[in-house]
Symmetry: C2
Subunit: 206 residues, 2 copies
């Protein structure tokens, strides 16, 4: 079976990008990372990717008049690299409709809470301040609503003993680095389908 | 240390009531169940409680003009039984403000989801249909908003492999029967305080 080609979008350190690259190279995910794209030239993850022989591109949003034009330039890079699946890994930009429709149900995002609880920019802090005893992380397919699409993988994280939101964020990050490869492994390696908004794995012989 | 006295409110089978009674008698929770009150005379849990030597009362809501009068009658039973803590265990009635203020931060409820996700009457079904991969149960202090008060204990439940919402509900129920005794054990046996809406266990020597 040919390996799927992944494109990973980052804005910063890209620690989830690193976990995906490592999982692909270890053979845990049947894919290769064809390109890493950042919207910021100074994203630390670019240095890591180059150092590990992963092709990179910078498509700076400041160079474009609007979100759609920026997204078109990114999609062009993805198409040129023959990318099958797009992974958002700390990419701090909303995607336009045109981007999402260029890769329908083929864009993944990771979020540091158990969605639908605590969407938005501050999932860890919001969960901590709410006082939940269980939080976690979510890998989901991207649709037109923020932090909303069908859920592929969630991993729970116990909050007990965390003195602050940063400690909780650290615990969640450990599980993020497991969840993203797990989601890719399952989506690429198992039959799956959508029932309503549920991602159901396994053949539909029921 | 004197045992705390619990009053448990039920409307049906009261399986969580049973788990609390068992945990108290096993010495896992430093409390005794002083009274079980049902708003329905035909609640199956009443038979179980009587069979296990637990005092019971029926305060049928149909016998009262309004929620406040019904709640006043229940609180009178609780006061007469010298109840310290009230546990809702499948009690299918909203509590009035007067009831809640009679036992401020001394009323517990259990809910079959990881609050704040999926409040309301159908926590298991709503979570299943949303397609979460992790759900669970929540024991929380009761405040004036439904399924909203400070969280004491949550236990996660993996959804994977559940063919339907009923199967998920069964899995969650197993954890409910662990969560309610755990919450009581901690609240009655450890120092705790509220910080904002977070329940923080341990002495505040930090």
């Amino acid at each position: 079976m040919a390996l799927a080609k992944l494109g990973i979008l980052i804005s910063g350190r890209g620690s989830n990008m690193q976990s995906i690259v490592r999982a692909c190279r270890a053979g845990d995910v049947p894919a290769e990372v064809a390109i890493v794209i950042s919207n910021r030239a100074d994203a630390a993850g670019l240095v890591w990717a180059r150092g590990h022989g992963v092709p990179t591109a910078v498509v700076a949003h400041a160079d474009f008049d609007d979100r759609e034009a920026h997204d078109r330039a990114i999609v062009e890079h993805l198409f040129n690299a023959e990318v099958d699946w797009v992974c958002l890994a700390g990419y701090m930009r909303l995607l336009s409709r045109a981007f999402i429709e260029a890769y329908p149900m083929r864009i993944l995002n990771i979020h540091p809470s158990l969605l639908p609880a605590f969407p938005g920019l501050h999932g860890q802090r919001d969960a901590f301040e709410y006082g939940v005893a269980v939080s976690g992380c979510t890998v989901h397919l991207v649709d037109l609503e923020l932090d909303h699409g069908p859920i592929v993988v969630q991993r729970p994280v116990m909050v007990g003993g965390c003195p602050d939101a940063e400690a909780l964020a650290d615990r969640i990050l450990v599980e993020e680095h497991r969840a993203y490869p797990e989601a890719l492994r399952r989506l690429l390696g198992e039959p799956w389908r959508l029932e309503g908004r549920r991602v159901v794995f396994g053949s539909s012989t029921g």
